[in-house]
């Protein structure tokens, strides 16, 4: 009783797509069994574009138009545990609303793809970009990938099921793209052919399906103190296996696309004295500033982190421990302490030499400009060792 899909032939030249559209195309080509949808700015174009694909027969996904994000993730958990390849999308308040289910999905080892359009958390309500929403989920046990542009958004959405469904992993994958900056901005995106993506992701088969009547399972049981601790430790073990799987999938993707990815992207950092560490789209602007300063003879670089969870400490330390000064730019806050990325980096480099500075930028969609980034480097070069967190572009 299968419907045939109207296929798009292999697209060799680049298309002009927003990050949201690119993600939707990846989903179309993967053709998940089930997708639950609930709208929230700025991820809505992802689900709208995808819904149209389904309506036009370009994907045969069962769509569930749920009545809240909490239900979107609940339905995704039900679907994934029944053995269906499942995806959903959210942002900001929606992510905050579904947070208990994000923890549950990770703890139940369900490989769900979660597309995120990064957006600030209320209050006050703000629909623009920052990383406070996905940072809320950083302890939940999901894999978190931050992309820089629409191309990366497409590529990681294609890779996501393969990472998530690997038998050593079986965890949800959050592919985070900056709200508006990536979701709503059109760029050239090279897509693979439908058949190529289909072959790459393969067919999904879960080890313990809820719908296996011959082997009934009790999924989501109750733990007393005598078992919970071990269950969590085992979950950490799954996370520890992710870097190797990530590398394998990224290498396979390279064979297919010619685009080689890694959990981090070092840019002119190998011989740098000073560096910035950053997540997301702003890395693009920083790379421009690095090029300009290099022309001026300044030895600067940037380390862009893609995989925030798991946090690949060895790799990051390798690139950063020789530097004289590092500025970590956080696009979210952890009130009462430093920015979350800074906290990870400091711990990672605690017994090494570099001076570490924390900057908070871009909250609620506040833009960051090249001259402001240049100032950050200048301060590092000038040997600024103050420990206080600074806010870039604050208007007070």
């Amino acid at each position: 009783m299968s419907r045939t899909i109207k296929e798009t032939p292999s697209v060799l030249e680049a298309s002009l797509l927003t990050g949201a559209q690119a993600a939707a195309h990846a989903m179309r080509q993967i053709n998940p069994d089930v997708v639950s949808v609930y709208p929230i700015t700025p991820q809505t174009p992802i689900i709208q574009t995808f819904s149209k694909f389904v309506a036009d027969g370009k994907a045969t996904t069962e769509m569930i138009n749920v009545e809240s994000e909490h239900s979107a993730m609940s339905a995704a958990i039900g679907s994934a545990s029944a053995g269906a390849r499942t995806a959903t999308a959210t942002a900001s308040q929606g992510l905050a609303l579904m947070i208990e289910n994000i923890y549950i999905a990770a703890s139940m080892r369900l490989p769900i793809t979660l597309a995120i359009g990064n957006r600030a958390l209320s209050a006050p309500i703000n629909i623009h970009c920052d990383h406070s929403d996905s940072m809320l989920a950083r302890d939940s046990g999901v894999i978190q990938i931050y992309v820089e542009n629409a191309q990366e958004a497409y590529d990681y959405m294609v890779m996501a099921p393969k990472i998530a469904e690997h038998e050593d992993v079986l965890l949800p994958v959050m592919v985070c793209q900056d709200g508006f900056t990536i979701t709503h901005t059109a760029e050239n995106v090279s897509m693979l052919g439908d058949g190529e993506v289909r072959d790459f992701v393969g067919e999904y088969h879960i080890p313990y399906s809820l719908l296996d009547l011959n082997r009934p399972t009790t999924q989501g049981p109750f733990d007393m103190p005598d078992y919970y601790f071990e269950h969590k430790r085992q979950q950490q073990e799954a996370m520890e296996k992710v870097p190797a799987v990530l590398k394998t999938v990224q290498d396979e993707f390279y064979e297919l696309s010619g685009r080689l990815y890694s959990s981090i992207e070092p840019y002119k950092i190998e011989d740098a004295d000073y560096g910035i560490v950053i997540l997301g789209s702003t890395a693009g602007t920083v790379k421009e500033v690095v090029d300009n300063l290099r022309d001026d003879g300044k030895k600067v670089g940037v380390l862009k982190i893609r995989s925030f969870r798991p946090f690949e400490e060895e790799k990051i330390r390798y690139h950063l421990s020789r530097l004289k000064g590092i500025a970590v730019l956080d696009r979210s806050m952890s009130f009462g302490s430093y920015g979350p990325l800074f906290t990870e980096i400091s711990r990672c480099l605690y017994d090494t030499e570099p001076v570490l500075r924390n900057y908070i930028y871009g909250l609620g969609g506040r833009d960051l400009f090249p001259d402001q980034i240049e100032d950050v480097y200048k301060k590092l070069i000038a040997g600024d060792t103050s420990k206080a967190t600074e806010y870039i572009g604050l208007r007070e």
Partner: protein, 323 residues
């Protein structure tokens, strides 16, 4: 039509739900669950909200369930079931599951997880028309967490968050009519039943299993700990709730109401209230007005139900067989 022997026979096959669980002695919930599951002929998959049933039957590494069973959280059993049902459809499409072996999805939730925190996800699932039977075991409070009031708790009942005291007579609000809310979603089958009337519940389950789209059954389930009575009286007290017309047994098919049990003699609500410790304070001097109010409410609701059933009687006369 089930016979008790048929149900008992199905039971001894041991296929669905078994003993050894840690529900309280004399708990009404397993009676409801067993009757429902034994009345369904197809294979069953259960989705369970957080609550007494879930906690007491799945303490890792043990389980009382011999059917596939899923628990996610407290307020989302219906949403999780929506996902399971959608996956089932998708996997048939994909050819992974044969389409000639129907599975019945049964969702169990207490009154807490259904009337209150779970109402939104249930409403959404009903509106979308997913194919499942939702069975609410209504024991009229959040029992698992220690007897706190829910919107299903009766007026005047003493619970730990609506205790009776010098300044309070217990719960000050009337209980929500969830069955009516379910009917407002225009699903094809809605019913009210009780653990005391096994045949009624079994028949309704069979109808629910044949309904097109979602079906809902609200089952009154006594709680000896929360209602405060001897465990041996579990079934009798549920029966008395029916005989006093506090908990009428009826069904709503395609929006038409039909009474499935009319008490031979409508007993005074006092006789039911007297059996439980949670209503004891209502019999203190000065509280007679509360007993009167409760009786008036029961009468009002019962008469309204009778009137509605009378109006809709024509529909059933016209139907040769329904379900």
């Amino acid at each position: 039509m089930s016979t008790i022997k048929q149900l008992a026979k199905k039971e001894s096959e041991g296929k669905s739900f078994r003993g050894g669980h840690s529900l309280c002695r004399g708990c009404g919930i397993p009676i409801a669950v067993r009757t429902v599951l034994n009345s369904i002929d197809t294979p069953v998959v259960v989705i369970n909200a957080t609550g007494c049933l879930e906690v007491a039957t799945t303490r890792f590494p043990t389980t009382a369930w011999n059917v596939p069973w899923l628990h996610v959280a407290f307020e989302n059993a219906a949403a999780a079931a929506s996902g399971v049902e959608a996956a089932y459809k998708a996997l048939i499409k994909r050819g992974t599951i044969p389409d000639d072996e129907p599975i019945t999805f049964v969702v169990f939730g207490g009154d807490g997880g259904t009337y209150d925190i779970g109402l939104q996800s249930l409403s959404g699932a009903l509106e979308r028309g997913h194919q499942f039977i939702y069975v609410c075991y209504d024991n009229e409070a959040y029992m698992n967490t220690g007897i706190q009031r829910s919107s299903a708790t009766p007026f005047g009942a003493s619970t730990t968050t609506s205790p009776s005291g010098t300044e309070s007579f217990g719960k000050a609000q009337k209980r929500k009519d969830l069955t009516a809310i379910m009917e407002a979603h225009h699903i094809s089958y809605v019913a009210q039943s009780s653990i005391s009337h096994w045949h009624d519940l079994s028949t309704k389950t069979k109808k629910a299993a044949k309904a097109k789209g979602p079906a809902f059954i609200n089952v009154l389930s006594t709680c000896q700990l929360g209602w405060r009575h001897e465990p041996r009286d579990t079934v009798n007290i549920a029966r008395l709730a029916v005989e006093t017309c506090f908990w009428p047994l009826y069904e709503i098919i395609d929006g038409y109401y039909r009474l499935t049990h009319e008490p031979i003699e409508k007993r005074q609500i006092k006789t039911w209230l007297k059996t439980q410790g949670r209503f004891k304070h209502l019999f203190n001097n000065g509280n007679e007005y509360l007993l009167e109010e409760i009786q008036q409410d029961v009468d009002k609701n019962w008469n309204r139900l009778l009137e509605r059933c009378r109006q809709d009687a024509n529909y059933f006369e016209r139907q040769e067989a329904y379900f």
